[in-house]
């Protein structure tokens, strides 16, 4: 179907074997490689792993993000594209993409595209912006192009560059050539009933109808949110704990507050074993690193403690600093702990090496727990680079962030994040902490994405048993 199509789109609801289909499309050898584009580096990493696992030879495909591919092309044809990107400066992606969109539409590189690629496949097309759509439809004038997507999973929205409208833009350029209807993810997990329920829920949501969270009692567990906030919080932690106890070694994704990262961090600090899925820009960690930059001694210690309170439970910074005063003045009655010793070393004109020792010693304390492990690790790595005479701390953390962006995420088996952060990830179970929070209730698309993260069970907290209310 895909190999025969000149241009078209495939509607791919969550978990219906889209990645499998893409992998099969490039499995057999062809004269020229297939260009596969997607949106995020995480998406590229995931597709790459999948193709590698299926044993698809790397010569069969070229895999990139739309932005990354556009950046490569702008370096070749700045004059025809009408935009020059300084190769040393940070890429100005909106302008690069707009210029490459015009270039692809102009027909100037049609023959070269035909010479280079056999066809184009684009994943996650519902996340395509208007400029990205102009790039893809321009390439489609040169080579056969099939796009994959699901308008019900459209939850990205890039500032200043609106999403291409599925009906007026996308479907007009790429007519539907088929849709995936077998919920493989759930069938494979032995939860075919949940898979079928989600398909019909998707249909209902896309038609503007509401869904009843009580209509699939074996798989979907509705937890009403009452007026007692503390009871709700306790219940949210307990549900996750029960799943872990009943189904050890099974993964859980927890869909938390979409905006306030702090609220998700709070959840992770309360629920043992749950890690935080960090946004790729690690914004608060980059800020923390920039605050530490160039400091030493007491001020660096203060900055380290401030950082730890963002990623670790039971830091008790004030108590720690009082103890340092006592020990320095020989007024302490109990002997200093290893953590206190490293803190003192840092306090006494210590630099980055002492800061690293202090952070590591704090993390190894049984009384404390790092609930943002990836954030903690990236900081340690950045400090190590800076201590080794490498770049300054601010540059080091920016470098590491870019490397992570390229490498893709490794998600722990129990993780909390927003719908946006968890999109594309899958687990056996999903816990949705608040689906109809007043003022920021989940949209139909967010709701569908959240519901489809769990292959075996869904636990959902909301005020109303039917959503959208």
């Amino acid at each position: 179907m895909i190999l025969a199509s000149r241009r078209g789109h495939v509607v791919a609801p969550a978990g219906c074997g889209k990645t499998e289909l893409i992998a099969r499309s490039v499995a057999s050898p062809a004269e020229k490689p297939t260009l596969i584009l997607t949106h995020t580096t995480a998406g590229v990493a995931a597709l790459h792993q999948r193709l590698k696992r299926d044993g698809v030879p790397a010569s069969h495909y070229r895999l990139n993000t739309i932005a990354g591919w556009a950046l490569g092309l702008i370096s070749m044809f700045p004059a025809r594209a009408g935009f020059r990107q300084d190769p040393i400066a940070a890429p100005i992606y909106p302008e690069v993409q707009a210029a490459i969109g015009r270039l692809c539409q102009s027909g100037h590189i049609t023959r070269e595209l035909q010479a280079t690629y056999g066809r184009l496949l684009v994943d996650e097309y519902q996340d395509c912006s208007v400029t990205q759509h102009s790039i893809v439809s321009g390439i489609a004038n040169a080579i056969p192009t099939v796009i994959f997507g699901d308008p019900m999973q459209a939850i990205f929205g890039f500032g200043g560059d609106p999403l291409a409208d599925w009906h007026s833009d996308v479907a007009a350029t790429f007519p539907e050539i088929g849709r995936l209807t077998t919920p493989w993810r759930w069938s494979n997990a032995g939860a075919d009933d949940l898979g079928q329920w989600l398909l019909s829920a998707r249909e209902a949501l896309s038609q503007g109808l509401s869904i009843d969270l009580r209509s699939c009692p074996n798989r979907i567990f509705w937890h009403p949110i009452g007026t007692d906030t503390n009871a709700t919080i306790t219940e949210q932690v307990r549900v996750q704990f029960d799943i872990s106890r009943n189904s050890p070694n099974e993964s859980i994704l927890i869909v938390g507050d979409p905006i306030r990262a702090g609220s998700r961090h709070d959840y992770a600090s309360r629920a043992a074993g749950v890690s935080v899925v960090e946004p790729v820009d690690f914004r608060d960690i980059v800020n923390a690193a920039q605050n530490m930059d160039g400091l030493s001694g007491d001020t660096l210690l203060q900055a380290c403690i401030a950082f730890l309170t963002q990623v670790m439970t039971n830091v008790y910074g004030d108590r720690l600093q009082q103890r340092i005063q006592s020990i320095q003045a020989d007024r302490n009655r109990t002997p200093p702990t290893p953590q206190e010793l490293t803190a003192i070393a840092l306090f006494n004109q210590g630099g980055y090496p002492q800061a690293i020792a202090f952070l590591k010693s704090m993390a190894s304390d049984r009384e404390r727990r790092v609930y943002r492990r990836s954030a903690f690790n990236i900081m340690i790595e950045a400090l190590t680079m800076a201590a080794g005479g490498g770049p300054d701390l601010g540059s080091a953390i920016a470098l590491l962030r870019e490397r992570n962006r390229q490498a893709g995420r490794v998600v722990p088996s129990k993780a909390v994040g927003s719908t946006l952060l968890l999109k594309g990830l899958e687990a056996q179970h999903v816990v949705i902490l608040d689906a109809d929070q007043p003022g920021s209730a989940m949209s139909r698309q967010h709701l569908y994405v959240a519901l489809t993260r769990g292959a075996r069970s869904v636990h959902i907290f909301s005020r109303s048993p039917t959503l959208p209310a």
Binding site: L73, M76, F77, P78, R80, S106, I109, E112, A115
Partner: protein, 595 residues
């Protein structure tokens, strides 16, 4: 198939700078020996072939000036998909306009996508091959053509010696044919092992006593040897690529074919199975009879010009030229201009010599094709006298024979050939030759007068016009200038050519029966000159090479100093133009002939 669309050469051997846009099909280069034909072919072969083993020397630099690098840019068009691949060559793809030859930094829909290969040799004599683009995308990048793609563009060259093509070797056509060289290598290694085994099995008569003695001596010396055998030395039987050669059914190596046959065979192989579409042939006529030249040119696409392969060849044969289409012909020229030493603000500026190399094309006009067919020989000389018709050719040939009779070098030896202007075509033909860079003279009569613009255009084009004074046809000039004593000789030539009766009838008719042939012979009077000139013209008495040649050689040459300046002045200028006469040969004193 890949084809060269532009060649740009700097400081390579005889060429200081040259830019040429060859055609996609057959390109035949002609020109004098030092014009740089072979240099162009070498430049193409070296740049596309990338033979690391080639050793450059100071002599490869223009005027041995190693301060200026040799830079050869060969731009390839009609690229196959592999060469247009964005991910491999994207930064180096350029756009070329086939209409005006303009090169742009990046491809575009209205341009042909091209790649430029550059060969640079600096004073360290180390050749360096690179892809080249002026574009911003290529800035700071260095990339070469991938090895597998080299194979697509590396030309096959058929020099005058074709024998090496009959064996599998790195530079032979067979070597380029075999897709998998390693298979051949494995077969060779196997064959060499078998040879050693066969030798060991069969033994070699007469070595037994030597082996016995060797063993005995080894024993007595305390060297322990169980058995001594005579085997072929491993190094002695190593077969390399060149060891596989084509043989005919009698096991005679194809290398012993005649050189012509071998060249035909190689050309056929290249066209049918060659991987590179670029084929270079030196001296295409070498070793071939005319009918086989025609066959070879056919196989090279001289007639079809289908673009299946791009051929670069040189020739010195008019037979080859006659078989070509006019657009296939290119003349290579070296033009030297010398600026004399001058003083400028008390500063002595030394004399400067500037060499320019150009490639001029004959073009695609109908006249170009006719000229090529009719005047093939003239294209092979540096100087061309375009003669209005056969009469003028005859006169020139007569002068030439006179030169040779008197022991001077012939016009041909002076690099001068005549071409038939075929009457009204002469002006266009003269301009064609001039535009291709030939030193051109036009030898015409003056009974038909052209506009002043026409003569000015000829001069502008560099054509040296030689004609009789206004109003004189060639025949009129002949009879006006001939010494009275020679009139009967002229009439005899006419009689031999046209017959007694026809000449007599023409004289009687035009004179209103006042004169007869006999009267003109026996009682010639000055006032007959005009009439006879008219009769000669109308009666076509000398309208062919042979009679005109006799007029020139047997009449005027015998009485040059008695001949009138109506004839001698223009002919003298022509002879001076050819370089045969360096000083004016004084015309006869006025009086013997009417002026």
């Amino acid at each position: 198939m890949v084809a060269i669309c532009e060649v740009e050469i700097r400081n390579f051997r005889g060429i200081s700078y040259l830019k040429w846009w060859p055609r996609k099909g057959l390109n035949c280069l002609i020109g004098p020996g030092d014009a740089g034909k072979s240099t162009i072919l070498d430049a193409i072969e070296l740049t596309l072939g990338a033979r690391q083993s080639f050793t450059f020397s100071d002599a490869d630099f223009h005027r041995c000036n190693i301060g200026e690098p040799i830079i050869i840019d060969v731009t390839l068009g009609a690229l196959s998909d592999e060469l247009k691949n964005l991910e491999v060559y994207g930064h180096f793809l350029r756009g070329w306009n086939p209409v005006n030859g303009a090169m742009e930094d990046e491809p575009a829909s209205h341009l042909e996508t091209v790649l430029t290969l550059r060969l640079v040799v600096r004073d360290d004599l180390e050749p360096q091959w690179l892809l080249h683009s002026e574009g911003a995308g290529a800035e700071g990048r260095e990339r070469n053509l991938q090895w597998k793609h080299r194979q697509l563009v590396a030309p096959v060259r058929l020099g005058t010696v074709a024998a090496h093509h009959m064996a599998l070797g790195p530079r032979s056509i067979l070597g380029k044919l075999s897709a998998d060289a390693t298979q051949a290598a494995a077969a060779l290694a196997g064959a060499s092992r078998q040879a050693r085994q066969a030798f060991a099995d069969r033994g070699c008569e007469g070595v037994e006593p030597i082996l016995e003695a060797s063993k005995r001596i080894a024993d007595t010396m305390g060297i322990r040897v169980d058995e001594v055998r005579a085997l072929l030395d491993v190094r002695g039987v190593t077969l390399s690529g060149g060891a596989i050669a084509l043989h005919d059914e009698d096991h005679v190596p194809m290398k012993s074919l005649g050189s012509g046959s071998m060249r035909l065979l190689v050309a056929g192989l290249q066209k049918e199975v060659g991987r590179s579409s670029i084929f270079i042939i030196d001296e295409v006529e070498f070793g071939l009879e005319p009918y086989r030249i025609v066959r070879l040119l056919d196989s090279l696409g001289a007639k079809t010009d289908d673009g299946g392969q791009q051929v670069f060849m040189t020739t010195h044969s008019p037979i080859v030229l006659r078989e070509l289409a006019a657009p296939q012909l290119f003349a290579v020229r070296t033009e030297r201009t010398t600026t004399p030493a001058t003083t400028f603000d008390d500063l002595m500026l030394p004399e400067t010599k500037v060499t320019t190399n150009v490639v001029r094309h004959l073009g695609a006009s109908e006249q170009a094709q006719k000229t090529l067919r009719a005047c093939a020989e003239a294209f092979l000389a540096p100087s061309v006298i375009v003669c209005e018709g056969k009469t003028e050719i005859g006169l020139v040939r007569g002068m030439d024979l006179w030169l040779q009779d008197s022991g001077s070098r012939s016009l041909l030896a002076r690099g001068c050939h005549w071409a038939d202007g075929a009457g009204s075509s002469m002006i266009e033909r003269a301009q064609l030759f001039a535009s291709m860079g030939y030193r051109t003279a036009l030898f015409m009569d003056s009974d038909v007068l052209y506009s002043a613009e026409t003569y000015a255009a000829l001069t502008q084009a560099g054509v040296h016009v030689i004609r009789w004074q206004d109003g004189f046809s060639t025949e009129a000039a002949i009879f006006a200038a001939a010494p009275a004593a020679k009139i009967s000789d002229l009439l005899q030539i006419a009689v031999d050519w046209r017959g007694e009766d026809a000449v007599d009838a023409k004289i009687q008719k035009l004179s209103g029966n006042r004169y007869t042939l006999d009267l003109c012979r026996t009682a010639f009077a000055e006032d007959m000159r005009g009439l006879l000139g008219q009769c000669a013209g109308e009666g076509k008495w000398f309208k062919d090479i042979e009679p005109a040649e006799r007029v020139s050689r047997a009449v005027f040459a015998q009485a040059w100093f008695d001949t009138g300046i109506v004839y001698t002045a223009p002919v003298t200028r022509l002879m001076q133009w050819t370089g045969a006469w360096t000083v004016p040969v004084a015309p006869a004193a006025a009086g013997t002939a009417a002026g």
